[in-house]
Every structure is written in structure tokens, then in C-alpha cells.
């Protein structure tokens, strides 16, 4: 009955929709001869004709349809409905063999769609395999203009762009044409086709580009393009979460048409909107004059998130005559009649959403739950820690552990005293340390036979005392023990490369003492420690006159604390002036040799505390336009500036480097961290682009990410070329606030991924169940037993219920005072 209110003139076919909804109405399909059939065709009216070689009424053949073995090729048509006023006929070719639409092969059935007497479409024999297929195909053919079938993302983008500010889009993905979902979409298009642009696809890649991965199911999205006035802005998208049936789509459409947010000032018990009629609940956000603006924003936010699931209203408390409880900020009204409204105190938008979803969910899934308790959503017993899971899955692989020395209580001190050693402190039950153990072994493999550094490990699960004595209380910890020195903790990335670098750079003392000018030059040219240059792209040389004792001391301390991360050297001979003159500086100074760029810069040391020197060196190590990687991003994030990232598939064109260099030189990029990302080296960059863009423009791509204040992402227009001028202009617009962001990064907190077992309520449930047993006086023996049995059965139910009731802390939180909403 849902469609009964629509009487529409469609495609020149005039008819009144009576009842197409629920069950197929069995109408006998007239059996006609071809001649008779063509004579009945009316101009402009659509009709579907089946041409069949046998006479179904008289001698139905038992040839099975491959997909529908119960149907013989011709006879099943008799069970068809007459589709929405379209004439469906059966034409028996046997009677008049000459009819040109009759197939040549004897038992081949063919179907043709006509408008008037113009042939619109011929259907291959196997397409119309059931009712859904017939309805879907026929409507698909008739609504050719209303429903755009697309296969590429570009098509979708074009349609979206074309309709911005004009009309909304209904975008549907179905697995195949002719399915029941397809039919439902087509029926919806039949009704709503003039209001919205329908877009249909069977390409899952398209679906994925919108952000869904479940290509197993049909999806329907509503693109809110009409309100979009700025061409660069995207259309907001709402996913229909129910399954694709005609009824659900209709309901969904109605909610899309309803106003997003309604303001009311009457008793919530009395308020009714289209949502209630559609069986959806209402959510009232209670507002007061004082907080109106903020409440409205919240309500809009909620409304967007509940679009299609519930109606959202803003209830103005001040002008309200009925009393509502004082602290109530949300009122929930169920669709079922006669239900009391719920007055809630919820301090988090998520709580509102989950409240609605939980309640709607129970209605819908009640029946399912009884059938199948397994389908409860995420299982809290399934590992969702990527490190723990990958380590667990790899547990059976044997590592070449023999390349590392396993220490025990007895051998520990002896070993680390006898030779330079690296010790990994780990615990065999701790996932991170076991993951790192693999990298550690890789380091051992690479160093095999080349290093005099002994790679050791000690399992703190076994040798707890040793670990505690070495001040190791968490895992993993890596320490380097060198004769006559305090042990040094490794604080770099827990990975093969970084640890290898640390070990290699520790082969020489840090800072290394340079004894002659010639040696200093060699050191700066990267010749002195050639084998180490690949681990340290920069060599630092501190130059001092021999009398600067404190400065030398401090530099030595600084070099020591940077050991393993960068090469440092010190030169403090009498002839140091030769060096300082050459590099146009005065002692004390730092000389910084960048080996890749083959040039050396000098920096006078104004402040000479060890800490300052470390800071100066660390800053100097930063590049002006670095290639950002997983390993080095944290160093650049410390600068707390927006990132200007050039995404590139492979290394970047030299001209971009020049553009950047020029802008950097002119100090236009001082407030930013310019960098580039090579997708080949850092594939995770793809994941980032997917978040930034719905539709990925061609690379290279310049993006500005305001990570530390607001999280907006701005994209340099992909139709402009990256030139100094264009970029400068764009940055000016950005600084002036004229540039629109394409995305705001989620500011969501990292909440528990899943709930925990609520043992407290399980214990409570058990306690309360035991309570009646404490009063055996009024129970006869049989009663007790029965009672016990009931209780026993109950227990299992209660347990399951408690498992379902997972947001236990969320609920508790609702009672804590909080003024967020």
C-alpha cells in the first residue's frame, strides 16, 4: 500500500498504480497469437510480450530453467504479476509460425518490450528468470533516462558535479542486474525518478571508492548534492543501512525528504512527525535560550548521524508548558504507540546514537536473535591487537636464535663484562618484545661475522632478578654494554634498520677525536669512515681551540648522548684556525657535512651547554624538504607546524624540488613543514590519500594538513600546475582563510575497541538469583526443584544478556556530571 498515494504519469504509459507491493498478484497472462498481439498495441503504451514455441496451457514442457528448476521455460510467466500497468502478453508462435519475433529454435522463449509498436528491447532467453528479473529488466529499460547506469568512478563524479546545487542523487550498487535488490531500486526509481537522479552500478570498485568494503551486499546511498553550492565541496552521503527492499527504500526516501531538524516547543508526548509513521523513533534534544546556538549545532550533528534511523527535533524548554525532569537533555520517543517517552541524561553524542541504535536494533533483530545467537557482531574474544595477533600467528616459525647469545643469571655479568655487548631484555609472553625479537635476529643475521659487538638476549620471564637489577621493568629494552662505560639504553625505533645503524655507528667512539687537519678534511668528505656514511648522512665536527675546556667537555657529552644516531667528531688542535677560516667561522663552531649534497656548512656555537649542543645538532639534522617516511615523521611532527606534503608515486620531478627550494629560500614556507612522500617507499601513503580524497586526483598531489590545530586538509587544485606562482597564491588564500578544506580529520578519542566482560553484573545476577533460595520455608520440595531448574535455565539466558549489554561503562558514564552537551 505504500505506493498507493502516487499516481504518476510515467513514460507515456498512463496507468494508476494500484498495488504492486507485497505479494505478486496472480493475473492470468493473456495468450495471444502474434497477429492478435500486435493489433492490441496502443501508441505510447508499453507492453511486454513473450514469444514461445510451445503451448503452455495445453502441453507444458518440463524443460528446467537452469536457475529455477521448478519453472519450465514458458509456463512460469503465468505466475507473473502484471507489472505496474504494463501489458504482459504471451504469444504462441506455434499458431503462426511466420511471426518474425518467434525464435528459430523450437523451444526457445523470447521476450520483447514494446512501447506502442516500437520495439524497445529484446531480452535474451535467460535474463527473465523470475519475477524480480522481469520487473527489474522491464523497468530498467523503460526508465533508461531516469536511471543512469555507470561503470566508472569518473561517471559518478561527473554526475555528482553536474547536480551540485540542483538535485540530490540516489546511488545504488547491486551485485547483478535482475536481482530482487535491483528490482527494489527500479521500483523506487519508478516513483522517485523525477525527484532524484538515480544512479546504478554493479562495479564494486565504485562502491569501494565511496568507502564500503562489503561488496557482498547491495548498497544504497543518498547524495545530498542539492544544498552544495561550492563546486569544490563534496556532496554529503547517507548510507541506507537496512536491506534493499522496496519498503525500506521508500521509508529511507521519506526520511531523506523530511526536514533534517525540526524545532518544537510542545509536549514531546504529543509530537508526531513522518518518522513515527514510518516506524522510526524520535530524538528530542532539549535546549534552552542560553545554550540555543550550541544545542542547535549539536542537534544538527546528531541529526546527520541519525539520518534515516530516527527523527531529530530541537525542543525549546523555555517555552514549554509541560514539565520535564530537570537534568534531562535528551528525550527519546519510540515509534510504537502507547510507549512513554524516555527522559535521558546523555553527555556524549555517541551515547545518543548508540541509544537509538540499540533500541532500533532490538526491534528489528529480535526474531533473528532467537534463530541465531552467533550473529551478534564483533566477538570480544577475537584478537584485535595487530601486534599480538601477528606474533601469535608467527609463533611456529623457528627463528635463527642461535645467532644471538642467550644469557642467564650466571652468564649475564660475565658476558657483558667480557666483551662489548648489546642485550635485548624481553619477555616471551609480551607481544611487542617478541615482535622486536624478530628484527633483532635480522640484525644478527646482517652483522654475522662482521661485528665485534656481541648480540645477546635475556628472557625476563625467566631471569626476572637480572632484569630488575639492570633497571628493566618494561619490555622490550635494549642496552649496550661497553667496557669501562655505563650501559647505554637504545631509544630509537624498534626495527632492524635503526638498530643496525645504532650498532654500526657505535663502532667508533662518539665523538671521535680527529688529530690533524688532513684527517678532519677526510672526515668531512666522508672518506675517513666510509663504511659508516650510509648510516649517517651527516657528519658533525666540533672545532674548538685547545683552551676551550668546558666547551670541549660539553661537546663531548653531547656527542656521547647522540651516539648511535649521528657521526660526531671533535678537533681541538692548535691549528684549528685553518679549519675555521676555511669554513668562514670562528671557534667554537660546528661543521656539518651533508654527504649526499656534498657540502659542508658551519655554525658558530653561541651557547655551549651540552643540552643546547644536542638541540642544535638535532635541529641541524632536519632537512628543508625531506622525503617523509614512517621512520622520520615523528621528528618532523615535533615542529608542530602544518605539513605541506607532495604525494608522488615514485621519486619526484626535479622541477617540484626547485619550486619548493625557491619558496623555502624566500621564507614563504616558514610556518609550514614542506615535505614529500614517495608512495613506492611508503605505501601507507595510499591509505592516507584514501582518507583525504573520495576520488583520487592524479599524482603528484600537493596537500596541506593542519594536524595540530583543527585537522583540516587542504588540497592544491589538481587542475593547476605546481608552479612557484600558483603555489604562492594558493598559500596566500589559505593564510587568508579563503581556501576551503576538503576534509577535517577525525578528532575522535581512542575509546576501547570493544567492551569487556561485565563480571560484576554476572555476579550480581547470580547473587540475586540465589536470594529466593535463602527462604526455603514457604517452598515445598518439588517447588524448590522446579524453581531451581528455572533458575538454572535462567542463568544461561542472563549470561548471554549480559554479554549483549556491553556498553556497561558508557551507561555508567551517563550518570556522571558533565557539561558537554
Amino acid at each position: 500500500m505504500m505506493f498507493s498515494s502516487f499516481s504518476v504519469f510515467r513514460i507515456g504509459v498512463s496507468f494508476v498504480l494500484m498495488c504492486v507491493l507485497t505479494k505478486a498478484t496472480v493475473v492470468p497472462v493473456p495468450e495471444l497469437s502474434p497477429q492478435r498481439y500486435f493489433s492490441t498495441l496502443q501508441p505510447g503504451k508499453a507492453s511486454l510480450a513473450y514469444f514461445c514455441q510451445d503451448a503452455p496451457m495445453h502441453k507444458p514442457r518440463e524443460r528446467k530453467h537452469p536457475d529455477f528448476p521448478n519453472l519450465t521455460s514458458c509456463t512460469f510467466i503465468f505466475n507473473l504479476i502484471s507489472i505496474q500497468g504494463i501489458l504482459v502478453s504471451y504469444v504462441n508462435c506455434v499458431q503462426e509460425e511466420t511471426a518474425k519475433y518467434c525464435g528459430k529454435e523450437k523451444d526457445l522463449m523470447k521476450a520483447y518490450l514494446f512501447r506502442g509498436n516500437i520495439l524497445l528491447r529484446e531480452f535474451p532467453p535467460d535474463t527473465l528468470f523470475d519475477v524480480n528479473a522481469v520487473v527489474a529488466h522491464v523497468l530498467f529499460a523503460l526508465l533508461f533516462n531516469e536511471v543512469k547506469y555507470i561503470a566508472t568512478l569518473e561517471d559518478l563524479q561527473n554526475i555528482e558535479n553536474a547536480l551540485k546545487g540542483k538535485a540530490n542523487i540516489v546511488f545504488a550498487y547491486v551485485k547483478a542486474i535482475g536481482t530482487s535488490e535491483h528490482r527494489a531500486v527500479m521500483e523506487a526509481a519508478f516513483v522517485y525518478g523525477t525527484t532524484y537522479q538515480f544512479v546504478l552500478t554493479t562495479e564494486f570498485a565504485l562502491l569501494e571508492s565511496i568507502g564500503t568494503e562489503d561488496i557482498e551486499y547491495a548498497h544504497l546511498y543518498f547524495f545530498h548534492c542539492k544544498p552544495v553550492l561550492d563546486f569544490t565541496q563534496e556532496c554529503r552521503k547517507t548510507l541506507m543501512e537496512q536491506s534493499l527492499t522496496t519498503l525500506n527504500i521508500h521509508r529511507f526516501m521519506k526520511t531523506m525528504e523530511a526536514p533534517l531538524l525540526t524545532e518544537v516547543a510542545e509536549d514531546p508526548q504529543q509530537v508526531s512527525t513522518i518518522h513515527l509513521q514510518l516506524g522510526l523513533p524520535l530524538v528530542f534534544i532539549v535546549s534552552q535560550q542560553v545554550t540555543y546556538a550550541a544545542d542547535r549545532r549539536t542537534a544538527e550533528w546528531v541529526a546527520w548521524r541519525l539520518l534515516g534511523k530516527a527523527g531529530v527535533l530541537l525542543l525549546l524548554r523555555d517555552s514549554l508548558e509541560v514539565n520535564i525532569p530537570q537534568h534531562t537533555n535528551v528525550i527519546f520517543k519510540r515509534a510504537e504507540e502507547g510507549m512513554q517517552v524516555e527522559y535521558l541524561v546523555l553527555h556524549d553524542v555517541d551515547l545518543i546514537i548508540s541509544h537509538v541504535e540499540n533500541n532500533v536494533h532490538t526491534e528489528e533483530t529480535q526474531e533473528e536473535e532467537e534463530e541465531d545467537d552467533e550473529l551478534e557482531g564483533p566477538d570480544i574474544d577475537i584478537q584485535d591487537d595487530e601486534v599480538a595477533e601477528s606474533v601469535y600467528r608467527d609463533r611456529k616459525r623457528r627463528l635463527p636464535l642461535e645467532l644471538t647469545v642467550e644469557l642467564t643469571e650466571e652468564t649475564f655479568s660475565r658476558t657483558v663484562m667480557a666483551s662489548d655487548s648489546i642485550v635485548l631484555f624481553y619477555a616471551s609472553w609480551e607481544a611487542v618484545s617478541m615482535a622486536f625479537l624478530q628484527s633483532y635476529v635480522e640484525v644478527a643475521v646482517q652483522l654475522k661475522g662482521t661485528s665485534n659487538m656481541l648480540l645477546c638476549r635475556i628472557n625476563c620471564g625467566d631471569w626476572s632478578d637480572i632484569c630488575t637489577k639492570q633497571n628493566v621493568t618494561e619490555f622490550p629494552v635494549i642496552k649496550m654494554y661497553k667496557e669501562g662505560e655505563n650501559p647505554v639504553s637504545y631509544v630509537g625505533m624498534l626495527g632492524t634498520e635503526d638498530l643496525l645503524k645504532f650498532i654500526q655507528l657505535n663502532r667508533i667512539s662518539c665523538p671521535v677525536t680527529i688529530t690533524s687537519i688532513q684527517e678532519a678534511e677526510e672526515y668531512l668528505r666522508g672518506k675517513l669512515y666510509e663504511e659508516l656514511i650510509s648510516y649517517s648522512r651527516v657528519s658533525i665536527l666540533g672545532i674548538f681551540s685547545p683552551t676551550m675546556i668546558t666547551a670541549i667537555e660539553n661537546f663531548t657529552k653531547a656527542g656521547n648522548s647522540l651516539r648511535g644516531y649521528v657521526l660526531t667528531g671533535i678537533y681541538s688542535e692548535e691549528d684549528v684556525l685553518l679549519l675555521s677560516d676555511k669554513y668562514a667561522t670562528t671557534v667554537p663552531a660546528l661543521l656539518l657535512a651533508r654527504h649526499e649534497e656534498r657540502h659542508t656548512v658551519s655554525m658558530p656555537l653561541s651557547s655551549t651547554s651540552a643540552q643546547d649542543i644536542v638541540q642544535i645538532i638535532t635541529d641541524a639534522l632536519l632537512e628543508t624538504f625531506p622525503e617523509i617516511t614512517v621512520e622520520n615523521l615523528p621528528t618532523y611532527l615535533r615542529l608542530q607546524k602544518p605539513l605541506l606534503i607532495l604525494f608522488s608515486d615514485g621519486s619526484i620531478n626535479h622541477k617540484y624540488k626547485e619550486v619548493m627550494a625557491a619558496l623555502i629560500k624566500q621564507k614563504h614556507l616558514d610556518s609550514l613543514t614542506p615535505c614529500w612522500l614517495n608512495l613506492k617507499n611508503t605505501p601507507a601513503g595510499r591509505g592516507i590519500l584514501q582518507v583525504y580524497f573520495d576520488l583520487l586526483p592524479p599524482l603528484p598531489l600537493l596537500v596541506l594538513v593542519n594536524l595540530h590545530s583543527g585537522g583540516q586538509v587542504f588540497a592544491f587544485p589538481s587542475d593547476q600546475s605546481i608552479t612557484e606562482q600558483n603555489l604562492l597564491l594558493w598559500l596566500k588564500k589559505f593564510e587568508a582563510g579563503l581556501e576551503r578544506h576538503i576534509r577535517v580529520l577525525s578528532a575522535a578519542e581512542w575509546k576501547p575497541p570493544l567492551p569487556a566482560y561485565d563480571f560484576l553484573s554476572m555476579i550480581d545476577a547470580e547473587t540475586s538469583q540465589h536470594a529466593p533460595r535463602k527462604d526455603p520455608e514457604c517452598m515445598k520440595e518439588t517447588d524448590v526443584q522446579e524453581n531451581y531448574k528455572e533458575q538454572h535455565e535462567d542463568t544461561s539466558k542472563v549470561t548471554i544478556k549480559h554479554l549483549r549489554n556491553r556498553n556497561w561503562f558508557e551507561v555508567e558514564k551517563a550518570f556522571l556530571p558533565d557539561k558537554e552537551l
Binding site: 595487530e386 599480538a388 583520487l696
Partner: protein, 585 residues
């Protein structure tokens, strides 16, 4: 295990101190320890390590005089399991019931006896070595005959304890630590009781019982020890007692028969002095009871009456004293919040104090502001939880966890069949019904008050927490199963703190760092500090197979957006960053 130094202190229940004002100033000591038995020596060791002014008074010529006479048949009831299959020294103390705590690994009892139930003589030898090697400050041959209180406002506790020895010498003490064991054997009055030979004086020569009918009163360890000794020569042995035979493996109480041996249980109120859960006398501030006599705190529940229990409670008392009189806070380790699950796991898997003194001493985790880090305090007397801040000198303002080991409520009790059906719990969901000793974690948003502790629900060891977690029991007390033990514990902690405690590889953190405004704790405390976990190719592949990691390298063009954090701007408050869609369906 403790009948020695017959001071008149224990004449009646509780403590009767002669409250005589005694103006004589003798030698002053901050700490006086009575008795050089195991408990006294243990306390002396801690006092000495902390550099405190202290002395131990012992009336005999050597330490551990109790063991010169008891047990009468020389075999100790405490096990000396020398090989546990594990190297972890802390863990091994779970199976070493005779060693005292010290830093010296040579002073482990396993070096003194090979017997599973060692000989009392070995214990004497051990205690002597313990006192000598550690150079503990013991005054032997000194009998304290008289103890009085001397009120003085200047004193730490408002009074001094004035001890008079047999030579008339007085010793003035700020704190008195009584470790004298128990001195009143049970007296049973019935017709014919005059024929009764007490355990302390009965002959240990079987020949004396040749062909006789013997009635043994009691069915505790001493009774069986005696019976076993004379079994072969007597005509008839009757054993009589009020309760049925309790086997310690059914009750988990050492005082019950450990496979047919042990001490007299029963007349509890007569035997033990009145003390608080902090082992301080209820009557006199500054007077602590250590060792066997302190067993009232956990009588019939835990091991506080035995060496393997009181060595930990003595340490707890010492820590309380350090805080009270020297401002030395209870020792703690501060960790970043990412180490929360690990720190608990490490302790429940190896700690011996938690294990031996289960449900008496518990670990406490004090959360710091915003729950970004926490302090871990070990082996705090859990009944004193309400007074935690004053007793430890630490702050508990932002919530706390208490980590305890517990038996299930259905398990203990002498009448229960410990091998009842379904006694072991296999699924994490049913962990709260675990019967064997298993870790239980209590979460409190606020430190419970004294009232809440006192009026807690029946059957509860602590007041009702905000949330509770049981780690499912494990026969080998090995709680390290990734999914069975660690995962549910993490989920519990996450939900208490409303945060995500998962570990992430550096690549995931990298992605989050550039696509979200906030990072999970493991990325914040690891990756952002340039200490991210890089992982290896093998692990990455496993991660991809599990669906928890994405293979970006294989993605190609156009990229498919099933990735983490793929959320439209308004869904910004979403909870689940990974596999959004998958979890919804």
C-alpha cells in the same frame, strides 16, 4: 611453628601491657625486635638494609630456638621444592616455604636441605647463617622480663616502650616489634585430663608406647606427626577431635594437614593477640606483631602464620614504618599507561608474595591524572586499602586497581569435594567462577573509605568496586595466553580507562598520525617518541592475513578505502578505527 620466649605478654587474649610509668631512661633504640626466630630475623634484615637504629633481643644463645625442640619429631611441614622447572627466582619462592627474603642468593633454603619436608636442624643452621652472614644486630641471651609504656609527647607514637631484661638493664624503644611466636599451648579440660601428655613434652621415643592404647587429642599436624611416629608399636591409636580431618590441599591452608601432618588449629581467640590488618596492636600504637603470632589477620585463610607467608607481611610492616617514621614512601615503579596490562601480567605470573599471601597482600595500581601513567605498588595489606594514602605516602586521586589472587567462592571449605564436576573453568566468559587460585582485578574510581571496607558485602574481600575482572584459572598458574588471559584483561582495563590499549606497528601509527587528530596511547608513547615498532616482513604478512593490517603496497590504483579511520567528517566520534564496516555487520 612458634612457641618460644615465654614472656608474660600473652597471658590473656590481646595484649596486656603493664602500664607503669617508668622514668628510668635506658639505652634508646628506634626499633626493638623481640625474638630472633624467622620473623624477628626477617625484620632485622629489613631494618638493617634501611639503616635503621634497631636491636633484636633473643633469650637463647642462638636464633630460632623454637626449632631446637619443635616440631618434636624433627620434620618440618613446609615444603622445600628445589626444582620448579623455572629459573625465575621470584617465582621459585612460590615453592620455597622456608627461605627468608634477602639479597643474597646463597641464603636460600635449598642450599641447606635436599629433603622435601626438611629437618628442623637444618632450619636452625639456616637461621644461624642468616643472622651471621647478614650481620644482623641480635642480642642473644637477653630475656625481656618486663615491658612498660612511658608516655612522652616527643615519642614517635606518644609513648616509649621500656623493656627490662633479666639483668635489670632497661631499653627504651620507639617501636616495638614482637616476633616471639605463640606461647600458650591449648589446654583442654575434661575428666582424666590430668593423664594427658602435651605435645611439647611427649616422648618421641616409640619404645615408650610399646603395646599401649593411645588416645591422641586433635587431628592436626602435630597429632598425625605423633601418631605416625608410634604407629608401628602401639596396640591401638584413637584420634579424637571436634572437626573432621582437614587436608590442606582441600582448604589451601598449611595449618591443615598437608598430607597427614601439621599443628594444632582451633582455639583461635585464645591464641592470637588482637591486631589490625597493618599488624599493629589495636591497643598500643607503635607495637607490631610479626610472624606466627600475627596469624590472626589471615587465620585459616592465608599463610601469614608460616615463614613463607610472614616473610612478606614483615616486609609490608617495614614499608609502613619507613613511611610513617622516615617519610620514605612505599616503593613504587612508575610506568606509562601502555605498560598497564604488562605490569599486571608480570606480577601475577611471577610474584611470590601475592601468591603466598593471597587475599591478604595485594598489589595496587594508582592512576595518574588523565590515566597516561600509573604507579605500581607491590604487596600492600589489602584490608588497609582505605588508609592507603597515609600508609604509603602516595596519592590515589585518579582511580586505582587492586590486583589480588583469590580462590573461587565455591572452592574452599573442608567439607567440599575439591574434585567436584565442572570445577575448572575453561572459558574467559566464566572466569568469575574460577575455583583455583586466579588473579582478580578490582577497579575503583575513588579510594574506598574505611566505612566501605568495614561494611562491604558478605563474601567480598573488598568493597564493591566500579568494575571487576577475573583472569580465568590456569592449572600451572601461567596466565600468559594471548587470547585466554591477556585479551580479556586488556579489554577490562581499556573499558575502565575508556581508552584503547592496543599495540600498533609504526606504519599504523604513521597512518593515524596523518589521518586523525588524536593517536592511541601506544602510538603516542612509542611511535611519536621515535620508538615505534617497525616489525618484519613475516609479521606484516601475518597481520595482513589476519585482516588487522592492510597491504598498501599491493593495493595499486585506484586504492580501495577499507582502511582504518575511513570516516566521513561528521562521523568523527566513531569508536572503531579499524574495520569499521566489518564490525557493524
Amino acid at each position: 611453628m612458634g612457641l618460644s620466649t615465654a614472656t608474660p605478654l600473652w597471658a590473656t587474649p590481646g595484649l596486656l601491657l603493664a602500664l607503669v610509668l617508668h622514668p628510668t631512661l635506658g639505652l634508646h633504640r628506634d626499633y626493638c625486635v623481640l625474638g630472633a626466630g624467622p620473623a624477628g630475623l626477617q625484620m632485622a634484615y629489613f631494618l638493617q638494609q634501611a639503616g635503621r637504629d634497631h636491636v633484636v633481643f633473643e633469650r637463647h644463645a642462638g636464633p630460632g630456638s623454637f626449632f631446637a625442640r619443635y616440631p618434636r619429631h624433627r620434620k618440618l611441614i613446609s615444603i622445600n621444592k628445589r626444582h620448579t622447572g623455572k629459573a625465575n627466582a621470584e617465582f621459585n619462592l612460590r615453592h620455597d616455604w622456608n627461605s627468608l627474603l634477602s639479597h643474597d642468593p646463597r641464603l636460600l633454603f635449598k642450599h641447606y636441605s635436599r629433603a622435601y619436608f626438611p629437618d628442623a636442624g637444618d632450619m636452625m643452621r639456616y637461621l644461624r647463617d642468616f643472622a651471621d652472614r647478614l650481620r644482623l644486630n641480635v642480642l642473644y641471651n637477653t630475656t625481656i622480663t618486663h615491658v612498660t609504656l612511658d608516655k612522652d609527647r616527643q615519642a614517635w607514637n606518644g609513648h616509649y616502650f621500656v623493656l627490662t631484661d633479666q639483668r635489670g638493664q632497661t631499653h627504651r624503644c620507639s617501636v616495638l616489634l614482637v616476633a616471639t611466636g605463640l606461647s600458650v599451648p591449648n589446654q583442654v579440660n575434661f575428666p582424666g585430663s590430668e593423664y594427658v601428655e602435651g605435645y611439647d613434652s611427649v616422648s618421641i621415643d616409640p619404645a615408650d608406647f610399646e603395646g599401649q592404647n593411645v588416645l591422641i587429642l586433635g587431628r592436626g599436624n602435630s597429632a598425625f606427626e605423633t601418631a605416625e611416629n608410634i604407629l608401628g608399636v602401639t596396640n591401638f591409636i584413637h584420634m579424637l577431635s571436634r572437626s573432621r580431618v582437614r587436608l590442606s590441599w582441600a582448604t589451601h591452608y598449611v595449618g591443615d594437614l598437608s598430607s597427614l601432618r601439621l599443628a594444632s588449629g582451633g582455639a583461635f581467640s585464645k591464641k592470637y593477640p588482637l591486631i589490625k590488618a597493618s599488624y599493629e596492636s589495636k591497643g598500643s600504637r607503635g607495637l607490631f606483631v610479626l610472624g606466627t603470632a600475627s596469624h590472626s589477620v589471615d587465620y585459616r585463610k592465608s599463610a601469614g602464620g608460616f615463614i613463607h607467608g610472614f616473610r612478606y607481611t614483615v616486609r609490608a610492616v617495614h614499608r609502613l614504618l619507613e613511611q610513617r617514621h622516615h617519610g620514605v614512601a612505599w616503593p613504587f615503579t612508575e610506568f606509562p599507561i601502555t605498560q598497564l596490562t604488562n605490569s599486571i601480567l608480570r606480577r601475577v605470573n611471577e610474584a611470590s608474595g601475592l601468591y603466598q599471601m593471597f587475599s591478604v597482600l595485594a598489589d595496587v595500581i594508582l592512576l595518574k591524572e588523565n590515566a597516561t601513567s600509573f604507579e605500581y605498588l607491590e604487596e600492600f595489606p589489602m584490608q588497609m586499602l582505605a588508609q592507603l594514602e597515609t600508609l604509603t605516602g602516595r596519592q590515589a586521586r585518579h582511580g586505582l586497581f587492586v590486583i589480588n589472587l583469590e580462590y573461587g567462592k565455591n572452592f574452599s571449605g573442608p567439607d567440599k569435594d575439591v574434585f567436584f564436576q565442572d570445577r575448572s573453568v575453561g572459558h574467559m566468559r566464566d572466569a568469575w567462577q574460577s575455583n583455583f587460585l586466579h588473579p582478580v582485578v578490582y577497579y575503583y574510581r575513588h579510594l574506598p573509605t574505611e566505612q566501605e571496607v568495614r561494611f562491604r558485602p558478605a563474601d567480598w574481600l573488598l568493597p564493591r568496586p566500579s568494575a571487576i575482572h577475573h583472569v580465568v584459572e590456569d592449572f600451572l598458574t601461567d596466565w600468559t595466553a594471548p587470547v585466554g588471559h591477556i585479551l580479556p584483561l586488556r579489554r577490562f582495563l581499556e573499558n575502565c580507562l575508556a581508552t584503547d590499549l592496543r599495540h600498533f606497528y609504526a606504519e599504523s601509527c604513521f597512518l593515524f598520525a596523518l589521518t586523525r587528530q588524536k593517536l592511541p596511547p601506544s602510538c603516542q608513547q612509542g611511535y611519536l617518541r621515535q620508538q615505534g615498532l617497525v616489525g618484519t616482513e613475516h609479521l606484516r604478512r601475518h597481520g595482513v592475513e589476519s585482516g588487522l593490517l592492510r597491504d598498501y603496497a599491493a593495493t595499486g590504483q585506484p586504492p580501495s578505502p577499507q582502511g582504518p579511520a575511513r570516516q566521513p567528517p561528521l562521523a568523527g566520534l566513531g569508536v572503531q578505527p579499524l574495520d569499521n564496516k566489518k564490525l557493524e555487520l
